[in-house]
Symmetry: C2
Subunit: 121 residues, 2 copies
DNA sequence: GATTAACCTCTACAAATGTAGAATAATTAT
DNA sequence: ATAATTATTCTACATTTGTAGAGGTTAATC
């Protein structure tokens, strides 16, 4: 089961805050803020999909994500890799290197990272 | 306007084939193949969204994509970058390098690419 | 103790999506 | 020609998504 667009957006808020009460969630939205009930609906659906849970705190709930952003992203990314790059990460990497306009400095930085990574293999 | 999941899937077929008649499109699907009318509906919607057009060939149509896979991907990817990596390509790159399990060889290969890219700057 | 604020559940409803039958037209094979 | 195949359009319908009102509960405030 996957998150829909607006659920994902709410998830991003939750990841940023790590945990939050209803009020905090709504605050995080830019104007025009969504109705409370809208957020409540999304949260409920996300609970059904097992992406979110909460801790009862007195009268209200403190919501928190059940999946780490990193893991969620990785899953999404792998789907993309499969569809667009024939499941080949290196094919993607080559595309990425050419098409993203990283600055010279960023590229140098990246090279260092790769070197470090190579050493761990 | 964006493609939905199953529209995107059909788009992938079209990109692979470059252009195709209804029949060819359906052939490309694994069993159980979708009904012709299903594909027809998707194609129509994709035309409305300006992702697909066709050339009339006698009685039937030869469909073709109006957007290149590369461009479509880039647009999608940029959205992801924004949401997950704070719009920072290099932040993504670092994540990618660590989390994707590229082989030593692939990493070396990638390093070479980056070097080449650096030279163009 | 009545009023207000926060928040939860239920219900609703329009738009988008996934999927396809019915009807129709044209095309080809028998 | 007649039947069988293929494609197209229209219509349909269930599900998912985006968004929120109404109504009820609890907690804090005046």
């Amino acid at each position: 089961m996957n998150l829909s667009k607006s659920e994902e957006q709410l998830m991003q808020v939750l990841w940023r805050k790590e945990k939050a009460f209803m009020k905090n969630l709504i605050e995080a939205y830019p104007d025009p803020k969504p109705a409370q009930t809208t957020i409540a609906t999304l949260l409920k659906r996300m609970q059904d999909k097992n992406f979110v849970d909460y801790k009862q705190h007195g009268r209200s709930r403190e919501y928190f994500p059940l999946i780490e952003k990193k893991d969620y992203f990785t899953k999404q990314f792998n789907g993309i890799l499969k569809n667009f790059f024939n499941d080949s990460a290196s094919q993607f990497a080559s595309f990425f290197t050419k098409e993203t306009n990283l600055s010279k400095e960023e590229l140098e930085e990246l090279k260092k990272l790769i070197d470090k990574e190579i050493k761990t293999k």
